[in-house]
Amino acid sequence: MSIAAALSEQGAGAPASRPVKRARTGASLLLLPGTAYLVLFFVVPAVALLATSLYVKVPGGDVGQFQPAFHWQNYVDALSQFWPQLARSFVFALIATVAALVIGYPMAYVIAVRARGRSMLQGMLLVLIIAPFFTSFILRTIAWKQILADDAFVVTAFKWLHLMAPDGRLTATAFAVVAGLTYNFLPFMALPIYASLGRLDPSLIEAGGDLYANGFTTFRTVTLPLSMPGVVSGTLLTFIPASGDYVNSSLLGNSTDTAMIGQVIDARFFKVLDYPTASALSVVLMVAILVLVSIYVRRAGTEELV
């Protein structure tokens, strides 16, 4: 239908308006399933979450019994009690994102730029990045628990090299949680950067050298700016899920000084059955991420990039 519209527009200009209108109805029909899905599974739950976050305890009721209200005090209570976990979530997520960028960028660079033209090698290296996805997320995190365990070889080796105090440990530490987050979200960082670098015209790198820029300067002034779309999507795909993650902090951390907000929400919801606080924290997390991300995207200035 839209092809017909385009054709008639190219031909005589006048009778174009009717087919265009029909094409628009066609487009909205095509959007219907997606819109319905989003309304049903995103808008409705989000409103429900917002409503639950304002509920109050039923007077004299059982544990987990609440009634609708507009109790904004829930937010104040939740934040004053759990702000350290919220702040820690963002700090951990930020460190993990930076670490994933530092590790993932060179990986993506080697695959996209250095292995350019050798599609067999590129394919193999990409499979290596994606391969961990073949195993379950939980299983991989539990495996990390084993790797970082007190009597495992990593800790033993560190102690032998005197890089760690004799009574030091890795498991149940902030390091273990951040390492787990970094590991688990690394592919989400590396793949968008790979895609960005793969589109990079190699003659631009040559032009940099031709115009008196050495390898590092060419990277700083040409390659890196042109891969920014990949860096931005990679950091978002890492930071957003990492700040809400609770698997790594529960499996690799301890419940006191490494707890992240996801872990608290999980506990509030399923153990304490304190739904309003859990909902309030979820809303706060959502809004905080939204604000942080929009500031970041604006600062990164992706709209200027091609």
Binding site: D201, S203, L204, E206, A207, G208, G209, D210, L211, Y212, A213, N214, T217, T218, T221, V222, P225, L226, E304, L305, V306
Partner: protein, 385 residues
């Protein structure tokens, strides 16, 4: 015009020399023992079909490839082994390679900034004046037309006042009319700034229009080099005769050797070739003549004195091309000759099936070595880039 004087006041370019340069990619020899001198301030064209090694040669001069053996020097300084950013050489890339994340002005200022030239933006703006694009300084390359991008790429290379400016098929992506215009523009700029230009192209007309010196490359070697007219009038190999313009070549045997001419027996007819225009004066040779040098004679018409005559033969094809008409004449055992006749009286004067003889001046005849393939360098449809 301030930009012109600023650019022209520089070194004015330097001579480029290649000594026995070879480049192998695995077992494939892209450039084969090439020795070449480009005089300072000249417009030099490397002409050849795709895959002849001309771009590889250019990339070795730029420092983007290193030769397998041999040496490259610019202005007398040996540069072999140095990297691209260390060489006072700039390239106009075939794809232009403009930085899409920078404005036109910042693209032009890129090299100036790297060299820490004072006031890079002012200098870049002057560079844009040279290509008449200052009004587009704040645009992104993607907002420019192909011809404008090409000129930005040229300005970006020129502002650095390089010892040698390399042009890698810079006009290849432009349409015919724009290409003609840019050829003249490039020539004008080169004359103005006086830098050494090395231009790589597969378009023989482009090479002849612009360059002072043309080197015809084939299979990694230089076949012949010289001024365009010299190359055209006196090709020394069958490849040059066919690749640069068109030629009619016939095989024959030297049967007579005079003081300044040789007589060549070609399928029963005697052709005369000036000794000075013959590569070989013994045994089997190829005798050649350019199509526009040939005069078509109808029965009864006499050739002028000092002419070689072949035929009669049958006209098999007539194609009218405005300025001239191209005739194909079948000469039986000698094959088919191409003749260009100027349309002095308007329209074609001969028809398919007419019997004609071909005559041309001895002075326009050239002789090539007989062991060459007479079809070498003719347009191969599978070979076109």
């Amino acid at each position: 015009m301030g930009a012109t004087t600023a650019a022209a006041s520089g070194s004015g370019g330097a001579a480029l020399e290649l000594w026995d340069v070879s480049k192998a990619f695995g077992t494939y020899l892209a450039v084969d023992n090439l020795t070449l001198t480009v005089p300072s301030g000249s417009f030099f064209a490397l002409l050849g079909p795709s895959g002849c090694g001309k771009t590889t040669t250019l990339r070795m001069v730029a420092g983007l490839e290193q030769p397998t053996s041999g040496a490259i020097s610019i202005g007398g300084r040996d540069l072999t082994g140095t990297r691209a950013h260390q060489r006072q050489v700039n390239t106009v890339f075939q794809s232009y390679a403009l930085f899409p994340h920078l404005t036109v002005l910042e693209n032009v200022a890129f090299g100036l900034r790297r060299k820490r030239v004072a006031q890079p933006l002012e200098r870049a703006a002057e560079g844009l004046d040279l290509v008449q694009l200052r009004h587009l300084a704040d645009r992104r390359p993607s907002e420019l037309s192909g011809g404008q991008q090409q000129r930005v790429a040229l300005a970006r290379a020129l502002v650095n006042n390089p010892a040698v400016l390399l042009l890698d098929e810079p006009l290849g992506a432009l349409d015919l009319k724009l290409r003609r215009q840019m050829q003249l523009e490039l020539k004008r700029i080169q004359t103005e700034v006086g830098l050494t230009f090395v231009h790589v192209t597969h378009d023989q007309e482009e090479a002849m229009t612009m360059a002072d010196t043309v080197a015809v490359m084939n299979r990694g070697r230089i076949e012949q080099q010289g001024a365009p007219a010299e190359l055209y009038e006196l090709p020394r190999t069958a490849f040059v005769a066919n690749f640069l313009g068109q030629s009619n070549l016939v095989a024959g045997t030297v049967v007579e050797r005079g003081s300044d001419t040789i007589g060549v027996e070609v399928a029963g007819t005697r052709l005369v070739v000036p000794t000075s225009r013959a590569v070989s004066a013994v045994g089997d040779v190829l005798v050649g003549v350019r199509p526009e040098k040939i005069q078509l004679l109808l029965a009864g018409q006499e050739p002028g004195p000092g002419s070689n005559v072949l035929g009669p033969g049958t006209v098999t094809d007539v194609s009218f091309a405005g300025v001239s008409t191209q005739y194909l004449v079948d000469l039986g055992r000698l094959g088919t000759f191409t003749v260009f006749a100027q349309n002095l009286v308007g329209g074609a004067t001969l028809r398919v099936g007419d019997l004609v003889s071909l005559a041309w001046s001895v002075d326009h005849t050239f002789g090539l070595a007989g062991d060459e393939d007479a079809a070498d360098g003719t347009a191969d449809l599978d070979d076109e880039p």
